[in-house]
Symmetry: C2
Subunit: 230 residues, 2 copies
DNA sequence: ACCATTATTTAACTTTTGGTCAATAAGTCC
DNA sequence: GGACTTATTGACCAAAAGTTAAATAATGGT
């Protein structure tokens, strides 16, 4: 993939400019530097794809590309850590709690969940890295979908049934799941348009509207579920 | 992006195997060979991303990579033709005719359209190349969305309104469009799951079900549109 | 002030890969 | 069958990009 990775003026070497002072070499603690690299790497690979060149990443960090090898044995190892960071540490356990909260109606749960989900997951970093990884190797993005499939979907189906006045706890049917995936995919598609295709979504202008969009769709989903599955 | 591009036994050199015959160098007409290369290139780049190496593509074709340069001045030129082929020559003008057909109800149109649309567009080649291109440079995928935006969406909104018993021809509101994009994105997400994340979609097993899935969603969309916009 | 540690850089190696060019040979036309 | 065209190849180049190893210099401890 051909991306233009703009050269960025190195923060570290910025101080060399004046006078004939020897370039002050900064020295960071292992943990902090590793953290810093990882953070930058997420942004960098989200932007440039996992084909982004280490030399460019290091330029953004103001270090030499060889220093990366002091913290990560190989480029692939770095990328694996990026995946891990993005897919695992951004998962919110609160989502499950929210969906299990007895004081909320199914409709409230759906609205609250998808609003927060879209704010957390429909990020530049997340969407792009998820897709980059899926494009190159399912086994990575699978980890995320596994969480979705086991933790969230069953709860969402349960709430859907509750909304329809049903209380059976039988295994979700494919038809139920597919109908739910219609809603889910529609929401994810917002992120796609925004971060992959670079389209301006209306919601970007006024934050209110994002909420409106999701409310419309959730209401539509639940309402139709009632006539389909009740 | 790191893909494993499996070496494929060259079809051309296959005949060398037996005896000590000199390898028969095949000679193809310009047009056919170019066509052949383009067809393979579509598959190849869909699989490996546009970073796929020309040497591997040519290996699949059973030719040397330098021969590619006899037909395409540069790798980028080849890729541009791949884009053109995928995005432009797969667009069906029938879609517009279908949506303009007066003998069909809005619901019939939606069903027929999205069923055919998903069969044409939700292909391995198409979905992956669309996303690869979007990831690296919007300007390419934009061409496709432009068709969508100008040719299809207005007609779909018109039919939605017709279904709702409205006949005004005013410009679609953002809310109407976003609601439609919910359906549209949900459909596209089927292709995403199938061709990006490698998930088995139920519909893959029985062709009937794909129809059922889309019918469910279309009906849900139209039904809800009525209560939202009527 | 010195030493040990290790973060950081410099230089270099290797493989990959897009691209060029002259040589070769498969058809075709007379 | 010889000449001409051009499809096809093989050898080669240069830049890109991952990786390694040795040299350098902050930093902290004593």
């Amino acid at each position: 993939m051909r991306f233009t990775e703009d050269s960025v003026t190195s923060p570290n070497t910025a101080e060399i400019s004046e006078g004939s002072m020897a370039p002050t070499r900064k020295r960071m603690g292992t943990a902090e530097r590793k953290r810093q690299i990882l953070d930058s790497a997420i942004q960098f690979f989200a932007r440039n794809g996992i084909d982004g060149q280490l030399r460019n990443l290091s330029k953004e960090l103001g270090i030499t590309h060889t220093l990366l090898y002091h913290y990560f044995p190989t480029k692939d190892a770095l990328i694996q850590e990026v995946y891990k960071e993005v897919f695992e540490s951004r998962w919110k356990p609160e989502w499950e709690e929210l969906l299990d909260d007895d004081s909320l109606t199914p409709e409230e749960k759906f609205n609250a969940f998808y609003l927060d989900y879209s704010n957390t997951v429909l990020t530049y970093d997340f969407v792009r890295i998820l897709i980059f990884s899926g494009l190159s190797d399912h086994s990575i993005s699978d980890r995320f979908f596994e969480l979705l499939r086991t933790r969230l979907l069953p709860r969402l189906i349960r709430e859907t049934r509750k909304y329809c006045g049903r209380s059976d706890t039988s295994k979700p049917t494919q038809r139920e799941l597919e109908f739910l995936m219609g809603l889910h995919g529609g929401v994810f598609y917002i992120g796609m348009r925004r971060w992959i295709y670079g389209q301006a979504i209306y919601a970007a202008e006024s934050p209110n509207t994002e909420q409106e969009i999701i409310r419309d769709r959730v209401q539509s989903y639940l309402h139709s579920a009632k006539s389909l599955f009740a």
